[in-house]
Structure formats: structure tokens, C-alpha cells
């Protein structure tokens, strides 16, 4: 006997949407590591971006000749295309760590490694040249960005920059089927299940809300319009003390697996109701270097049985009802924050889109796989929604491109700190937040 009450209220049906994963570029498939260095990924990046920039340069300044770095002549205006390198005084260097052991002076740890003396250098396969002038601000750019520069060589051997051309937003494909009804996507990040600072009741409230347990009928009617959930990284926090390589006592072993199991139970509840994508983050049990490979499905023995559960790469790209959504768990933007300056996370996000590269600081300061023939972080098609997880606060903005592209930028705050998740409406790309509060003063 099922013992189920038939409600007097009719049960709502959840809306559906078409999903297409575009993660193939981020999955490490046929790559083999033969001991190669990072020069190949830089070359692939330069090659692809330069082809693109050459085509843009003809429209930008058609009368100025293009040449390579070695082909620079003093005083002659020309355009050079290459990879920027920012020489940073405070950038941590392995030699400093070595000298730390030798010297008595302690090394100062910086949050942001910028220094007024930082300067930029442009490099292509023929050579490098130091950049001068005030047009290009070293605080904005980072190593790894490919740009076209208009200027001329000075007597001192520097290249005086007169103007800079970035690649700009990539072309955007209009979604073929414009949705006429409200359909929502929920973005969560930084759940940190198992962490002492996270409140499991808060996440449980979120799960209950999304799956339609909480709320009255009106609220549940709105919730039935949630078609997808994306969890952008840092979903578990395994106690770091257990990860120092020592053998674990049996009671500690359960402490190691409890956070993941707690997450699995909660994911099971979500997956039973709505499709969910989970991406790895910097604290998750996944590989370190980007692109992070999907979390092993056997970490989630309960949730993996559902066809609605997907373990995805970081970065993650997918299309929902024709709307292209691209995002990361935050490592790319966090690294930019360390090596450059910006107003807020959204500004860094905007820059990455304009540079057409998700993570320009790879592999310099952000770990990535030494690809030999491609750079998977190049943005070939501009997304409609671009999200970044594990940020300090929520932010959103629409970015307009020069060719009519429209991108919704979303900065997802850490759930364990803010209790906030972001809800996106696929119909008009508008965002609002969903926040949960469990502290009741008693």
C-alpha cells in the first residue's frame, strides 16, 4: 500500500528544456603527455588569435603596415601582434622560495602582486619588445593576452604604443528558438558541504525550495518553471588536516567521506526533481589544472543513477533551449584579481570576453594542461550568459558588443557565506537572487 494521499491541489509539472553539452573542448581525451612544455599552447594561442587579429586590423587601421617584432624599424609606425608578458616584481617565483630557506628575511605574502614598476612586453615567435607609453596600462593587462598594437619603435629600443586593438567579443549566434515562456536556471556555487562554516540547513532549504517542497502553491508554481540547476564548484570541503598524506585511522576515514556523502544525498534530492550539472572547483576532489575534468561519477553513487545528473568540466559550456551558457568555477577570475586591477569581478569577466580568452593567465600563473595543438580556452562563439562561481558577492550586468552581441554576466556568490543563489530567466536573460536565512534570534 503506497499510503499516498491524493492532494486536493493538483500537482504541478516541471517545465522542460532542451539541453546540449558543449564540453568536448574541455575534456582531456586524446592528449598524451610526452614531456612537452608550455610553449606549444602559447604558440597555438598566438597563432589562432593572430589570424583573427590580422583580419580585424585591416578594418581598424588599414593604412598602417603590419610587421613582426624583429621587423620593427625605428621611428616607423606599424602594427605588431603578439602575446603580452607582464613583468611583475612581486610575482612569486620559485627562486624566492629557495632563497627563503637561505635568508633570514621573511617573504611577504601579497594578495595582489601588482607593483608600480610592472611593465609590459610584447612577444611573438621572432622576439620581444618592451612596451612604453601610457595607452597600455600594466594594471589592466596580464601575461598571456594576445593583442595588436599600433605604435613605433623608439630610440631606446622600446615600442611606444599609440593604440591597442583587442579581439573583442566573439560573434554570437542568435538562439533559434526564442523561448516565449519563463524558464529559470539556478546557479549555485560554493556550497562547501561538510565545512564547519557551512550551514546544512540553508542548503537543505534551497534543495527543498527547488524541488517543490517548500512554499505555497503559488510559489511552487513559479518553482515548477526552474528547468536546470548548475552547481559551479567548491561543493565539498574535505577537512584539510586529513589530506597531509598520512595514514588515516578508521574514524578519520569516515570524516573524509562524510562531506561527499552529504553532498550526494542532497544531490539525489535535487536530481530526482530537476536536471543538475555539477562542476568541479578549486576545493573539490578533481584535478588541479584547468580544464578540470568532471568529478568522478562514483563519488556520487546515489545521484549518478539519475539521467538528470551530469558531472561536467570546469569550464563548462552548454546550450539550453538554444541559449549558450558558459562559465567557470572562479579560478580564472580569481587569478586575474591577483595580477591585475579592476572594479569588480564583472569587469574582469568583461575583459576575458573581450580578449576572447577564458583564462589568459594560464599557464603562467594558473595551472593548465600543456596542450600541444590547441588552446581550449579561446572563446570562439560568444555566449549569451557568462557566469563565474565562488565570488565574494553577487553581481550581474549586460555586456553589449560592437556587433550587437548581448551577454549577461553573472558573478555567483559563495553560498556558504551568503546563502544566495542566482536565478536566470532564459526568456529575457534577467537575473534575480534567491536567498536563504536560517538564523532566527530566539
Amino acid at each position: 500500500m503506497a499510503g499516498m494521499e491524493i492532494d486536493t491541489v493538483e500537482n504541478l509539472q516541471r517545465k522542460q528544456s532542451t539541453y546540449q553539452s558543449l564540453d568536448e573542448t574541455f575534456v582531456i581525451q586524446n592528449e598524451t603527455y610526452r614531456g612537452q612544455q608550455y610553449s606549444q599552447i602559447y604558440f597555438a594561442r598566438l597563432h589562432m588569435m593572430r589570424t583573427l587579429l590580422y583580419s580585424l586590423v585591416t578594418h581598424w587601421k588599414p593604412h598602417v603596415p603590419v610587421c613582426t617584432v624583429l621587423g620593427l624599424e625605428e621611428g616607423k609606425e606599424c602594427i605588431i601582434v603578439g602575446t603580452l608578458y607582464k613583468h611583475m616584481k612581486l610575482k612569486p617565483c620559485i627562486l624566492d622560495e629557495y632563497s627563503k630557506e637561505r635568508s633570514a628575511v621573511p617573504l611577504v605574502k601579497h594578495h595582489n602582486f601588482m607593483h608600480p614598476d610592472d611593465h609590459l612586453v610584447l612577444e611573438d615567435e621572432s622576439g620581444r619588445v618592451k612596451l612604453g607609453g601610457t595607452v597600455l596600462s600594466p594594471s589592466v593587462y596580464v601575461t598571456g593576452v594576445v593583442v595588436a598594437l599600433h605604435g613605433k619603435e623608439t630610440g631606446a629600443g622600446d615600442f611606444m604604443v599609440l593604440d591597442v586593438l583587442e579581439a573583442g567579443l566573439a560573434p554570437q549566434i542568435e538562439p533559434q528558438l526564442k523561448s516565449r515562456e519563463d524558464k529559470y536556471v539556478v546557479f549555485i556555487s560554493g556550497v562547501s558541504a561538510g565545512s564547519s562554516s557551512s550551514n546544512p540547513l540553508q542548503f537543505q532549504l534551497l534543495v527543498d525550495h527547488i524541488t517543490g517542497h517548500l512554499g505555497d502553491e503559488k510559489e511552487q508554481g513559479i518553482v515548477a518553471e526552474i528547468v536546470h540547476v548548475v552547481i559551479a564548484g567548491n561543493s565539498v570541503e574535505i577537512p584539510l588536516g586529513l589530506l597531509n598524506g598520512q595514514n588515516l585511522a578508521s574514524k578519520d576515514q569516515s570524516r573524509l567521506s562524510e562531506p561527499v556523502q552529504e553532498l550526494d544525498i542532497l544531490l539525489t534530492q535535487i536530481a530526482a526533481g530537476v536536471p543538475v550539472d555539477i562542476m568541479p572547483g578549486s576545493n573539490d576532489p578533481a584535478n588541479f589544472s584547468l580544464p578540470q575534468q568532471p568529478l568522478n561519477r562514483w563519488l556520487f553513487p546515489g545521484s549518478r543513477a539519475y539521467n538528470t545528473f551530469r558531472s561536467c568540466t570546469n569550464p563548462h559550456c552548454f546550450e539550453l533551449d538554444g541559449v549558450r551558457i558558459l562559465g567557470t568555477s572562479g579560478q580564472n577570475i580569481d587569478d586575474l584579481k591577483k595580477y591585475s586591477e579592476g572594479r569588480d569581478g564583472l569587469e574582469f569577466m568583461e575583459r576575458t570576453l573581450k580578449w576572447r580568452h577564458l583564462a589568459p593567465t594560464t599557464p603562467n600563473t594558473l595551472g593548465c594542461y600543456p596542450f600541444t595543438d590547441r588552446d581550449p580556452f579561446l572563446i570562439e562563439s560568444c555566449p549569451h550568459v557568462y557566469f563565474v562561481g565562488n565570488q565574494d558577492k553577487y553581481g550581474t550586468r549586460i555586456l553589449k558588443g560592437s556587433e550587437g552581441q548581448l551577454v549577461r554576466l553573472i558573478s555567483i556568490p559563495k553560498f556558504c557565506d551568503t546563502g544566495m543563489v542566482v536565478v536566470l530567466n532564459l526568456r529575457n536573460l534577467e537575473c534575480h537572487t534567491l536567498s536563504f536565512e536560517t538564523q532566527f534570534s530566539s
Binding site: A2, G3, D208, A272, T308, F309, L434, E437, T438, Q439
Partner: protein, 486 residues
């Protein structure tokens, strides 16, 4: 009235057992939907609310931040005050009742989570309310839960049709339907009917509109009940199939063990059909245990083995001959030494306090024969030659059941390919390694030092299979190996 009964029970739980009764806990415990559970709690608060603390959920758009939909928990006394934060109407529902408000809000979550954990840990074949989300207010018929274990693959590009073909892998297609409503066919009502119930799908079909039309919902609810009952039966059948499948191999296991217990009689065991190495390992262990009982009888014999080896060899050779067939046919014979025909286990019992695997016995006998007297060895060789000309003595390193690396000299036969490989390689080494083996065997018997094992890596390098198959026979050194040196 049923409701009254439930209300009474809630009262008992809250006051006597001091438990937090949240609506979720209530719904799972009494098998009612969440909405019904909330109503029950509300009724409880209305009729018997005095003396208990109530926690409410408040949800609505915030006044201070109009683009933020806020859901918060608030205790009874603070309800009115909290309502002010909201813009206009906010929905108020009872979240939980308890004897007193805990300091840490997360304590509200504990009872519910313990319940969730229990449901989660139930066998995969059970479809419980955690797994199919049956008590929520929103249905999603496109969710497929594969109860047989491996998940439905989602990598395949989604087909347009929502029909569910039998193979699991295309289940993901159901999740993604084209946007045109005309193409949407609801293939199944219940979210938890897996592909193993195709007949169910054909019988319960209805049009489903993706935008949640309410008038269909009642029909679906009724259908759902019907359907929910059926899959349970189906799944049980499935489960039975699976378990019987396992039972089959298990019965083989015991069958073999009982067969092995008849040691002296010729056993023409035909267990070639069990290729499963784990089963065979278990078979070995069980047979081992059986063997040990009777081999302990032979202990006395073992001590005198040296002297009696000549005569005994032939006798034991005969006995073991039967075993080797049994033992090695069901195991994946990656690296096993071919047992010398007619060797028994006796001597090994002396040194080993642990369970002795069958295979151990035979090679040890061989070692003994190797180590004791040269003439014995010659005899063996002579004997061996006419019986099975392809058998060789070879040095093998393997991992025993305790994970120790064991090096031993074994006879090997010609049954398996790996053995053949072994034979070719070890042919050259056998003579050299006979001596090194004695050195190895003189190493402490309980724990073979890695050096002993490493002493023969060159032999084993070309035979990686040996190490992998090492869960079979740990060959331990033989105390009598001392005597050879001397």
C-alpha cells in the same frame, strides 16, 4: 480519524521524545505529501500549539532588495516582525514544531537528515520517497532513476522523440524534448519506472504539456498511484533475477567446496565454467579451510617428510593431481604455477599459522623436493619427465592473500598460456634460481622482505601476469630449506 492519530503522534514526538518534527520529516514518516504535511502541522499548531515552539518559513520578495526572493526561517514570536521585511504578501508556512528552539539552527535539520540518510542507504532496488521525490509539489516525469546500478549515460546527443527505447543509454533523450508541444509524448507517468518496464509505458500513456497544465495533473496523480504499485513488483522481479544470478555462482562456490572436501577421491570437477576469479578465490579459501582440517592430520607426516619424501612423493602426487585440476580451472590462471602432480600440502602447515591455500601446498612440496636431496630432485625430475615433460621448476614471485610478496619455486605445467610463457622464460633461470630460492626461503617466514621478492624481478619482468594473479598461492619458505644449505 487518521489526522487525529497523526496529530497525537506528533504531540508525543515533540513533547516526550523532544524531537524536532519538521514537515519534511512528517511527510516521509507518515507517507504524506509535503503540502499535506505542512497542513497537518498547521492544524497541530492551531489545535494544540500551546506549549510548543513553532518555526515558520517566510518567503517573498524583499522590500530592501526587490530583485531578491528571500526565504527565511523565523520562530513564532518573531513572525510579525519578520513579515515586515517583505514586500507585500509573503507566504507563511509551518516549517517545524519542537519543544524548544535550538540555539543552532542546524539542529533543526538533524532529524530530517538522519531520515534522509537511512532512505539513501537503502538498497538501490528500493524506490523510496527520497529517490523519487514523490512527496513534493512538482512532478517531473522525465527523471529516470536507474535502479540497477550503472547510471543512464547522458553523453549521447538527445533524440527528438520522447519515446523510451529499451536500452538504458537513450534515456537521456527523454529529458530533452523539442520545444514544439506537438512532439511531446509522455511515455511514462512515474518518475521511477526504468527501462525494464516497457510494457508499463505502453499501457500508461498520456499527452503531457510542458507548461504544467493543471487539469491533467489529477488524472496523472491517479495513474501514478497505479503505476507506482506496478514498478515495485517489476523491480522485485528484477531483483530476484539478479540475486538468483548471484546465487547461481554462490551455489557453485559451495558445490566446489563440498566437492573438495572429498580429498582422496578423484575429483573430476568440471568447474571450468566459473571464470570469475573472485569466486574462485573464495572457493580456494573455503576449500583451503577444508583442506587445512585434513592437512593438519598430515603434519606429523610432514616432519618426517624428508626421509619419507621419496615414497610419499608418489602418493601425494597422486592426491594433488586431483586438486590441481579443481583449483586452477575456475581461477583465471594468470600466473599460477602448475602444480606438481601428486604433491600434498602437508609440510606447509608447519610454518604457517594462517590459512593455507591449496596451491600453496603443492608448490611447497615441490620446493621440498627441490631442497632436500639431490637424488630426490633427480627422481622428481625423472618422474616428472615421463609424466609431463613440459613441467619446469620456475621461480615465481606473487602476492599472497595477505599482500606479502612471496618468492617460490614451483613446478609449472602447460595448461595455460601464461604458464607457457613462464616456462619458456624460467627454463633458463630455473637452475640458477634454485639456489637463490633457498636463500629467499630462509628469509623470515612470516614477512617476506621486499628484497627477497625483488631478488627475482628479472624473472618476473616479462611476466607481469604473475604478479596480478598473485592472489592465489602464497608460497612460503620451508623450514627444511635450511637443511639444503647445510
Amino acid at each position: 480519524m487518521e489526522t487525529l492519530g497523526i496529530l497525537d503522534e506528533i504531540e508525543v514526538l515533540v513533547s516526550d521524545k523532544v524531537q524536532v518534527v519538521s514537515y519534511k520529516w512528517l511527510s516521509r514518516n507518515f507517507l504524506v505529501s509535503s503540502n499535506a504535511a505542512k497542513r497537518l502541522l498547521q492544524e497541530f499548531v492551531n489545535t494544540r500549539g500551546s506549549g510548543f515552539e513553532v518555526v515558520y518559513t517566510l518567503s517573498g520578495w524583499l522590500k530592501s532588495n526587490p530583485s531578491s526572493y528571500h526565504i527565511r526561517l523565523v520562530s513564532g514570536p518573531k513572525l510579525e516582525e519578520a513579515k515586515q521585511e517583505f514586500n507585500g504578501n509573503c507566504s507563511v508556512q509551518v516549517y517545524s514544531v519542537q519543544a524548544c528552539i535550538p540555539k543552532d539552527p542546524a539542529a533543526l535539520w538533524n532529524a530530517e537528515f538522519v531520515q534522509a540518510e537511512e532512505l539513501f542507504k537503502q538498497s538501490f532496488t528500493v524506490d523510496n520517497c527520497l529517490r523519487d521525490n514523490r512527496f513534493c509539489g512538482i512532478r517531473n516525469s522525465f527523471v529516470k532513476h536507474n535502479v540497477d546500478g550503472p547510471a543512464a549515460s547522458i553523453a549521447a546527443p538527445q533524440p527528438k522523440s520522447a519515446e523510451i527505447p529499451v536500452p538504458l543509454k537513450s534515456n537521456s533523450g527523454c529529458q530533452n524534448i523539442s520545444a514544439l508541444p506537438s512532439k511531446q509524448t509522455k511515455v511514462q507517468q512515474s518518475p521511477n519506472v526504468g527501462p525494464e518496464c516497457p510494457n508499463l509505458e505502453s499501457s500508461v500513456k498520456s499527452e503531457r504539456n510542458g507548461t504544467g497544465v493543471h487539469d491533467l495533473a489529477t488524472k496523472q496523480t491517479v495513474d501514478e498511484e497505479k503505476v507506482l504499485l506496478l514498478p515495485a513488483g517489476k523491480k522485485k522481479g528484477q531483483g530476484n533475477r539478479i540475486s538468483s544470478g548471484n546465487g547461481g555462482s554462490l551455489s557453485n562456490l559451495w558445490g566446489r567446496a563440498s566437492a573438495k572436501s572429498k580429498l582422496s577421491s578423484a575429483q573430476a570437477d568440471n568447474d571450468k565454467h566459473i571464470p570469475n576469479p573472485t569466486v574462485s578465490a573464495e572457493a580456494q579459501i573455503s576449500a583451503c579451510e577444508v583442506r587445512e582440517i585434513e592437512s593438519s592430520d598430515d603434519e606429523a607426516q610432514g616432519v618426517n617428510f624428508k626421509r619419507a619424501s621419496n615414497g610419499d612423493n608418489s602418493r601425494k602426487r597422486m592426491v594433488v593431481f586431483d586438486y590441481s585440476d579443481d583449483e586452477y580451472e575456475d581461477a583465471v590462471n594468470l600466473a599460477s604455477p602448475e602444480l606438481p602432480k601428486g604433491q600434498s600440502s602437508a609440510t606447509l602447515v608447519l610454518e604457517k599459522p594462517h590459512f593455507i591455500k591449496q596451491a600453496e601446498d603443492e608448490p611447497v612440496i615441490k620446493i621440498q623436493s627441490n631442497m632436500t636431496l639431490c637424488d630426490v630432485k633427480k627422481d622428481m625430475a625423472a618422474d616428472a619427465a615421463p609424466n609431463s615433460p613440459k613441467r619446469r621448476k620456475v621461480l615465481k614471485t606473487r602476492i599472497d592473500e595477505r599482500g606479502r610478496e612471496v618468492t617460490e619455486v614451483v613446478w609449472e605445467g602447460e595448461e595455460t598460456e601464461t604458464n607457457k610463457v613462464e616456462a619458456q622464460d624460467s627454463k633458463k633461470e630455473a637452475a640458477n634460481n634454485a639456489d637463490t630460492n633457498t636463500a629467499n626461503n630462509r628469509a623470515p617466514p612470516i614477512k617476506k622482505s621486499p628484497a627477497a621478492g625483488n631478488g627475482a624481478p628479472s624473472n618476473q619482468g616479462s611476466k607481469p601476469g604473475n604478479k596480478k594473479g598473485g592472489n592465489k598461492d602464497p608460497k612460503q619458505g620451508n623450514i627444511l630449506s635450511f637443511f639444503k644449505r647445510v
